[in-house]
């Protein structure tokens, strides 16, 4: 390994004071803060790329956690992160918002319109030739998730707004309908399993999960948590109580190989509207149909297809598209080959079923390849579908329903109507008196089956609000949800009731115009409480309760201010109700810590931040990771805790309270031992046999310690081969001073 001699030159920052005998874990935060001053910006970025960042000579880093050897690197990134984000965002104040914007966009995108895909046999065959076993649906699915370019959406008052990140989700209508009926583990268990598999996969914990965290852990969230959230949001299957998973449109596809194209299209349409592919009766039967002709570039004649396409347009109107694809399979070695992006929104079930190998060899044959011309064609198709058919259709429906149904309810007479209906219990039939409790039911709710028929006002309003939500018109959706709240409560449609409270809170939080006043937050808290109670106690629907709590937590967090406290409280509630498994507990602990950490001190005064709380939760998260046997994640959490505590602890960084100090020391030690053990068993390099023995020795010589350090730094930071040697060099010097550094 490298000796101090051949270390790369370390450039010390000007603010660095070498003579001060400080102990590492404390000093580096003051240093870091000084370092982050803008004039050092370029220095830091430099040092990140080329050399290791400067390190105080007396710092006793070697006695710290193994993962720490990666930390000088991470530290410099952290300190320079605000600057990096500033350059990218163009505004210095938005550096901190970066992470929450990310999550916000994730949440918004998770509620995208669903487009069904139903293709003829010949189309699926054509696509299967190209190497997509799932047929046409599998081919276009990844491309729906981000529609290229801006999508302009007009809201209810006529204002247009462009969205860069709009997307739709393609679902397979032609797939086996009975797949869902077979017994499965509850979704939350699957979620936990999927996370576990992700953690277990050999190269991920270091490569996929830790590294980005090290680079950007300050403002952004850990990829594992994002994956957790993404899977949680893709858990739900179509249910009566919300219409997000009901198809807004459906794509009906035939190929140029078909001998009787128009008849096939008619038959496919009939299948979806009243044939065997008919959706359950609680789904609104009227949705947009979009007809696609897939032309085989390699085998068929374009003139024929154009003629057929014109014919289609005459018969079926404007919602048609001619998609020109090549039917030959594309391989990597082809000139214009292009890898298909991975589908982002995979439910835990899909993740668990047979998708374990792409994680291992992601870039060899995990994802199939397509010709670039095909990719361009599919992208153009998706964009046309979304921008010219789906969005206008949804806008149109929202306007119509708003005029016909909602405005009647909103007006003074509508209020009176619903009130009179509520009080005149006898008028609405005998059912209300059977149910008792005073409130008259509308009679629209089918108690036996537990859903509203899709054409009654309650269901249409819900659908309209969901459409508005998916069109990102949160003002309209919030007011519509609010309208529905009492209706569902009167009808005792508890699942609808829970869902509408949840979505009302979420759309209020998403609406950028509504101010996060204290009273508003209280209202929202109340709604979340109701939703959570209804989901869990009345419907025992744990996945939705967890979704509700996580969404509220994330959105309240991004609101900042007094929302942070609520956010943390909801996260704790989710843990309390044991909605999450052990991995989820650790993730949520980290998240609570992030919530508290995002609350900053009021300008000019020292109080107002929540760093102690954030630090505590990080320590707890580290403890949980350790118990899960994930020492690398534990040490990342510990490091985060140390960063958070740096503000509030005294100059030498020790906890003033001895028991806390003892606990943190023990935790640190345990993490180190576990980490070394796992590395020693995993890697099998030269010290593997010696390792498990000498970590248990009460006294460790600095040499041994040193060796392990170096190995560790190789491990934790596979990226920065440049910074490696100098990091070690600096550390070699430090070893003599490092013994019981914390207790000094």
């Amino acid at each position: 390994m490298t000796s101090p001699g051949d270390a790369a030159p370390v450039r010390p920052p000007p603010s660095f004071s070498p003579g001060v005998p400080r102990v590492a874990s404390k000093t580096r935060y003051p240093d870091q803060r000084r370092d982050s001053s803008p004039n050092l910006d370029s220095d830091l970025v430099d040092s990140r790329i080329a050399t290791s960042p400067p390190q105080p000579p007396l710092s006793a880093t070697a006695a710290e956690l193994p993962i720490r050897s990666a930390s000088p690197h991470a530290r410099s990134i952290r300190s320079s992160t605000p600057q990096l984000t500033r350059s990218s965002l163009g505004s210095p104040t938005e550096g901190r918002l970066d992470g929450s914007e990310d999550i916000r966009s994730l949440i918004i995108r998770s509620f995208s319109p669903v487009v069904g895909v139903y293709s003829s046999v010949d189309t699926d065959e054509l696509v299967r030739q190209k190497g997509f076993a799932g047929g046409f649906w599998e081919l276009i699915r990844p491309f729906g998730e981000t529609v290229p370019g801006k999508i302009v959406v007009r809201d209810s008052v006529g204002a247009s707004r462009g969205w860069e990140d709009y997307g739709v989700r393609f679902v397979d209508l032609g797939g086996n309908p009975q797949v869902s009926s077979e017994p499965r583990a509850p979704p939350l268990t699957q979620l936990e399993e999927a996370l576990e598999r992700q953690l277990e996969s050999p190269d991920d914990p270091l490569g996929g999960i830790l590294r980005p965290k090290d680079f950007l852990s300050f403002p952004t969230t850990s990829p594992l948590y994002k994956s957790f959230l993404r899977q949680l949001l893709s858990v739900s299957s179509p249910t009566p109580h919300e219409t997000f998973r009901h198809p807004v449109a459906s794509v009906i596809a035939i190929s140029s190989r078909n001998t009787s194209p128009l008849e096939t299209l008619r038959r496919l349409y009939a299948d979806t509207s009243n044939g065997d592919r008919k959706l359950p009766e609680w789904v609104h039967p009227e949705y947009l149909r979009y007809y696609v002709l897939v032309h085989d570039e390699d085998r068929d004649d374009i003139a024929e297809s154009t003629k057929l396409y014109d014919q289609m347009k005459r018969h079926f109107g404007l919602h048609c598209h001619l998609l020109r694809l090549r039917s030959n399979q594309c391989v990597v070695t082809d000139d214009d080959s292009c890898q298909v992006p991975e589908a982002e929104w995979l439910s835990p079930t899909e993740r668990l079923s047979g998708r374990s190998e792409p994680l291992v060899d992601l870039d060899t044959d995990g994802q199939p390849y397509l010709f670039e011309s095909d990719v361009t064609a599919i992208k153009a198709f998706v964009r046309e579908l979304v921008a010219q058919s789906v969005i206008p259709y949804m806008e149109n429906r929202v306007t119509v329903w708003n005029d016909q149904v909602a405005s009647r309810r909103r007006g003074i007479s509508g209020r009176f109507m619903s009130m009179s209906r509520r009080w005149a219990g006898f008028g609405s039939g005998s059912r209300s008196s059977l149910i008792g409790s005073g409130g008259g039911t509308s009679g629209n709710y089918d108690l036996a089956h537990g859903f509203y028929k899709p054409d009654v006002p309650e269901a249409i309003l819900r659908k309209m609000a969901d459409f508005a939500f998916m069109l990102r018109d949160w003002k309209l959706s919030a007011s519509t949800y609010e309208l529905l709240r009492s209706d569902y409560a009167n009808d005792k449609a508890w699942k609808y009731h829970a869902g509408v409270h949840e979505m009302c809170a979420v759309s209020m939080l998403l609406n950028p115009l509504s101010m996060p006043g204290k009273s508003k937050i209280n209202d929202i808290d109340q709604m979340i409480e109701t939703a959570c109670y209804s989901y869990l106690t009345r419907c025992s629907d744990a996945p939705n309760a967890l979704r509700c709590l996580s969404l509220s937590m994330e959105l309240l967090k991004s609101r900042g201010g007094s929302g942070i406290e609520s956010a943390a409280r909801w996260a704790m509630r989710a843990m309390d109700l044991s909605l999450v498994g052990s991995i989820g507990q650790a993730l949520l602990s980290e998240r609570i810590s992030a919530c508290y950490a995002s609350r900053n001190a009021i300008n000019g005064v020292r109080f107002g931040s929540r760093h102690r709380k954030a630090g505590m939760w990080s320590v707890l998260a580290a403890d949980r990771w350790l118990r899960l046997g994930k020492p690398s994640l534990a040490s990342a959490s510990l490091e985060e805790a140390e960063r958070l505590y740096a503000d509030v602890l005294d100059s030498n960084g020790a906890f003033p309270i001895p028991e806390m100090q003892a606990f943190v020391d023990n935790l640190r030690h345990a993490v180190k031992v576990e980490y070394l053990e796992s590395r020693g068993l995993d890697t099998g390099d030269e010290a593997a046999t010696a390792d498990p023995l000498d970590v248990f020795e009460p006294e460790e010589t600095s040499e041994k310690l040193d060796k392990r350090k170096n190995r560790k730094s190789l491990i934790a930071n596979p990226m920065d081969s440049g910074g490696l040697s100098s990091t070690q060099g600096a550390r070699d010097d430090d070893n003599p001073a490092n013994d019981d550094f914390e207790r000094a």
Binding site: R569, M572, R573, M575, D576, V605, R606, F607, G608, S609, R610, H611, R612, K613, G615, M616, V619, L620, V648, D650, F655, P656, I657, P658, E659, M660, A662, F663
Partner: protein
């Protein structure tokens, strides 16, 4: 109810710690926290983390007694705080028992008297002891606030006397057995 009382100096150094349980309603005065015995550091973590709130609340409020300021929901631990003018912070963590039957065996008979808490202002006779047993049920009730306030005031008086001792320097840990016994007595009397 189990209590963990600590006095922190203005630099967060603990000057005094004591854990005790309720003596009301037949309690034996022994603390039974929800954490296992090996995890008693959690009390300190919770108290330490609530300093964030103390620092904020002390500027929003003119009183020395800040009332109930913070909650740690996972263990349902409630923190009340009292500020001494010297900058020392008195923090009391109180935690209702997990199972209502574990510590308060005689609560059934005294619950009738629970509403008439006003008697407790008269001082610690046996009657007030019985009547204030309701504080165990609800840590945020006005009765509890009042009881904690009385406790804090009494501890503060004793704290001032102890700190005035010529052998005590500011920032030193309080080792006086007299003080400890006084705090225990106050705890028995009020909590």
């Amino acid at each position: 109810m189990s209590y963990y009382f600590t006095i922190l100096s203005s630099t967060d150094v603990p000057l005094f710690n004591i854990a005790f349980g309720t003596s009301k309603g037949g309690g034996d005065g022994i603390a039974r926290f929800r954490f296992p015995d090996t995890a008693q550091y959690m009390n300190q973590f919770i108290i330490h983390s609530s300093l964030d709130i103390v620092e904020e609340a002390q500027w929003m409020n003119g009183n020395l007694y800040l009332k109930h300021i913070d909650t740690y929901p996972p263990a349902s631990a409630y923190i009340s705080a009292f500020l001494a003018p010297s900058g020392a912070r008195f923090l009391l963590l109180h935690q209702p028992p997990q199972l209502p039957s574990t510590s308060s065996t005689g609560s059934g008979s005294s619950s009738i008297l629970g509403a008439s808490f006003s008697a407790s202002a008269l001082g610690g006779g046996s009657s007030s002891r019985a009547s204030s047993s309701s504080i165990g049920a609800n840590p945020t009730s006005p009765q509890t606030e009042e009881a904690v306030r009385q406790f804090m005031n009494e501890v503060y008086e004793n704290y001032v006397k102890t700190v005035m001792s010529p052998f005590y320097r500011q920032g030193m840990e309080i080792k006086s057995p007299v003080f400890r016994s006084r705090v225990t007595a106050a705890g028995r009397k009020w909590l």
